[in-house]
């Protein structure tokens, strides 16, 4: 959704549109390393984010997600490696980069004496303009009272205010660090709707989250970090395919011979007319085997990202 910022106050970079070159790499990390003394927070990660994509970044606490984001924003200086945002170096072109992105911090701390309206006005002056009607629309959608001081707001309402600040300006890149922490399920749903609208308008999104379902619903690709290293990256379906799913088949008659040797099946167990096994990878060899066999019914559990995520961590550990 594109905000209608008066032309005189619109940021120079302009809003994102589908007309912009799709597929262009707008965020790139090469060999990114960040150490805090002896703590190796990020240990040489490489990834790219293309225009219009939503990249989900998953990982447990201390995986290096927030450190990576803080390097992108030039809040931290990498120990080694290189980051490019919009083809620019965050260290030298920070203002140009930050004028084209918005950000929701993971550890949310807001000025306590300002009301939501005063805070958005203040940030508006720093960003060169503010669309009041869009602010009011967003506040209504998020059920947020902008006239209360931030210190009077619950943690959930503070999070809503941070989200409002992120979605208020037309940005080319949206960086979200644990954006739904403290939000109730209804607001989490509203956030997903806002995110999809923003993505549909052409905004690129870097989403760091613990909420796997949120990433599963919104991300095109996923990056999984652990101990400062990328342990997996790919599309959501690619990650799903890495995990096993339980298959159960009931036959009119006995279980056909050779079923347990179908590629991808493991831990097969049969009992008269019933067969169950775990399936990893493509289901096609199994379906090809079962074609023409007297199958009565079949049940395949849908694997989700949580399973894939947990499997990944079990593999690493």
């Amino acid at each position: 959704m594109e905000a209608k910022v008066p032309s005189a106050t619109r940021p120079a970079a302009g809003p994102p549109t589908r007309a912009r070159k799709s597929g262009e790499v707008i965020l790139k990390a090469e060999g990114l390393v960040k150490h805090y003394g002896s703590v190796k927070a990020v240990q040489g990660i490489d990834f790219e984010l293309r225009r219009g994509e939503v990249l989900g970044c998953l990982g447990p606490n201390g995986a290096g997600k927030s450190t990576t984001i803080r390097c992108i924003l030039d809040l931290l200086r990498p120990t080694a490696g290189h980051i490019e945002v919009f083809g620019l170096d965050p260290r030298h072109d920070g203002v140009a980069i930050r004028s084209r992105l918005t950000y929701v911090p993971g550890e949310l701390r807001l000025p306590e004496r300002l009301t939501g309206r005063q805070l958005t006005d203040s940030i508006g002056r720093l960003r060169g303009g503010l669309d009041n009607s869009r602010r009011d629309d967003l506040a209504a959608r998020l059920k947020l009272d902008l006239n209360r001081r931030t210190r009077q707001l619950s943690s959930g309402n503070r999070r809503k205010l941070a989200l409002l600040l992120a979605f208020l300006w037309p940005a080319e890149l949206l960086i979200l660090d644990e954006p739904t922490n403290g939000l109730d399920p209804l607001m989490q749903h509203e956030f997903v709707c806002l995110l999809r609208e923003t993505r549909d308008a052409g905004t690129t999104v870097f989403l760091s989250s613990h909420v796997l379902s949120e990433v599963q619903r919104t991300a095109d690709r996923v990056l999984v970090l652990r101990s400062g290293k990328i342990v997996a990256q790919g599309t959501v379906s690619e990650l799903r395919n890495r995990t096993s799913q339980r298959v159960e088949v009931w036959f009119d008659g006995g279980v056909p011979a050779g079923l347990g040797k179908v590629p991808g099946l493991a831990d097969g167990r049969k009992d008269d007319h019933y067969f169950t096994a775990s399936l990893t990878g493509s289901i096609r060899p199994l379906l090809a085997f079962l074609a023409g066999k007297p199958v009565n019914s079949m049940l395949i559990e849908e694997p989700d990202l949580e399973d894939a995520f947990l499997d990944l961590y079990e593999e690493q550990q």
């Binding site: 809040l75 931290l76 930050r98 701390r109 807001l110 720093l126 060169g128």
Partner: protein
């Protein structure tokens, strides 16, 4: 100055509005109440006689000489210790609140993710601190002159202005040192420690070290000495005293701005 740069100054200035007004009111009240008792001391010779029984070094250390004169009364009760220390304390508090405190709490992160350079953000805060300290000094000056007139305390306005200008510059220097520490490390404990050491320790060094022949030369190291050793309520102030506080203050502020642009920002 565009809207963004103005916000980088006025935003932080608004953030310390309440504490700024409290400091201002407290200092103005102390000045008014002190001057209000001046008529009881005017021309009183008994205090001067009592002082004669004290060692001259102690009398000078605590600024008690000529207590019954307007200059001696103001020196002993306000400008030898209290007012410069309070204004410097305000500067330390403001720097701690706007620079290191905001960074340490994580509140600076939202501002630093906006399209402004780190240096501009830090400089905006430095200007906000400086403006508040100047405003407090100006109000103190107005209250001082008003009280003097009300209670018939007659002192040369040039001497009083010089003393208050030196008080401001001492606070500016102290605040600038705190800004340099905040820019280099961003740790509130370091900022408070260095600031309070300079404000309190500098005062003690300037007042007490001259009592010892061994320590006396070290008294020259204290900025309090640079500011007030010439007794500005009585004598004309040499220009180098202003420069000795103002120029290093500017350099320390520049160091803080430069350092803040080069290091990692602390996470909440």
């Amino acid at each position: 100055m565009n809207v963004r740069n103005l916000e980088l100054v006025f935003g932080p200035a608004r953030a310390i509005l309440r504490s700024g007004l409290i400091w201002m009111l407290a200092i103005a009240t102390i000045v008014f109440m002190t001057v209000a008792v001046w008529p009881a001391f005017r021309g009183d010779t008994t205090i001067g006689d009592a002082m004669k029984n004290l060692p001259s070094g102690v009398v000078e250390a605590f600024g008690l000489q000529d207590f019954a004169t307007p200059a001696g009364f103001l020196r002993a009760n306000l400008y030898d210790f209290f007012i410069p220390l309070l204004i410097a304390g305000a500067a330390v508090g403001f720097v701690n609140s706007l620079a290191s405190g905001e960074e340490d709490s994580g509140r600076l992160e939202l501002i630093l993710s906006q399209p402004a350079t780190r240096q501009a953000i830090f400089l905006g805060r430095a200007i906000a601190v400086c403006a508040w300290v100047l405003l407090i000094t100006v109000v103190t000056t107005l209250v001082q002159f008003g009280s003097d007139s009300m209670f018939d305390l007659q002192i040369g306005s040039d001497k009083l202005l010089a003393t208050l200008a030196l008080s401001f510059l001492l606070a500016f220097f102290t605040g600038a040192l705190c800004l340099a520490v905040a820019g280099l490390w961003g740790r509130p404990a370091a900022v408070l420690g260095v600031g309070l050491f300079l404000a309190l320790g500098g005062c003690i060094i300037a007042a007490l070290f001259p009592l010892s022949d061994v320590l006396k030369p070290l008294a020259q190291l204290s900025p309090w000495n640079w500011a007030f050793d010439g007794d500005p309520l009585v004598n004309d102030t040499q220009p180098w005293r202003y420069l000795s506080l103002g120029l290093p203050g500017i350099a320390l502020t520049a160091l803080g701005v430069w350092a803040f642009g080069r290091r990692d920002i602390a996470a909440a």
